[in-house]
Amino acid sequence: MTALNEMQLDFLSKSQNESFARVVVAAFASQLDPTLDELADIKTAVSEAVTNCIIHGYENTVGVIRIKSKLYTDKIIISVQDWGKGIEDIQKARQPLWTSKPELERSGMGFTIMEDFMDKLEIESTPGEGTIITMVKNLGDSSERNNS
């Protein structure tokens, strides 16, 4: 099945771009007419993924973050990529409350939130090369629509 629409955004790993990234993905996702709850879930997951690139991937140095997104009639696929540090142990990283940077007051809840708010979360990472997070959100579940 081909996508209804596609986009790719590259931007610098600066913390003021966290809100920019949320606005861009939310504006793109809006084309599928999501509920407010679905849109909030998407914004939250994107915020977590982008923040991770900035803090963990590039450790507050300046690199490029790439967001790709595809729209289908019933879902949105979003990937967030950096060419930073990479993740040594992906299974450990996925655990709730686990963080490699407690000194920066990280809560270790980023991946848990992405997993919970989206319908699918895939993490690919190579230490020293970078990380790609791919997330899928199904839209228009009747259960979701009743909640909103």
Binding site: E48, T51, L104, M109
Partner: protein, 111 residues
């Protein structure tokens, strides 16, 4: 970050505003810590009425303040959680360490 109001001798109320992400949480954190030290604050009440968005960086910021206040026996209260914020509070377990009140009066009384 919105307004900071001292509501009792040792209690600070913080009217958070807008979207609390890593960028904003870092700014808020520094501001609150300066207040805590200068004014000998024991308890903090966060008002989320005007918060449209919060992610796990906000959670980290709140846990950080909690740990700071806890040393002196202080506590954290929250009021008016918006739906997106409530979801974050629930999934992150924040509701186990902060006290959720229905309004400011109740918070001042019970915190």
């Amino acid at each position: 970050m919105g307004g900071v109001i001292k509501v009792k001798d040792d209690m600070l109320k913080i009217n958070l505003r807008g979207e609390i992400d890593h960028h904003i949480a870092s700014i808020i954190k520094d501001e609150i810590d300066r207040y805590i030290e200068k004014h000998k604050i024991k308890n903090i009440l966060f008002d989320f009425k005007d918060v449209s968005f919060m992610d796990s960086s906000g959670v980290g910021m709140i846990i950080g303040r909690y740990k700071k206040l806890q040393k002196a026996g202080g506590k954290i209260g929250v009021i008016y959680l918006t739906p997106q914020v409530k979801k974050i509070f629930e999934i992150s377990g924040l509701l186990n360490i902060v006290n959720c009140f229905s309004d400011e009066r109740e918070a001042i009384e019970k915190l």
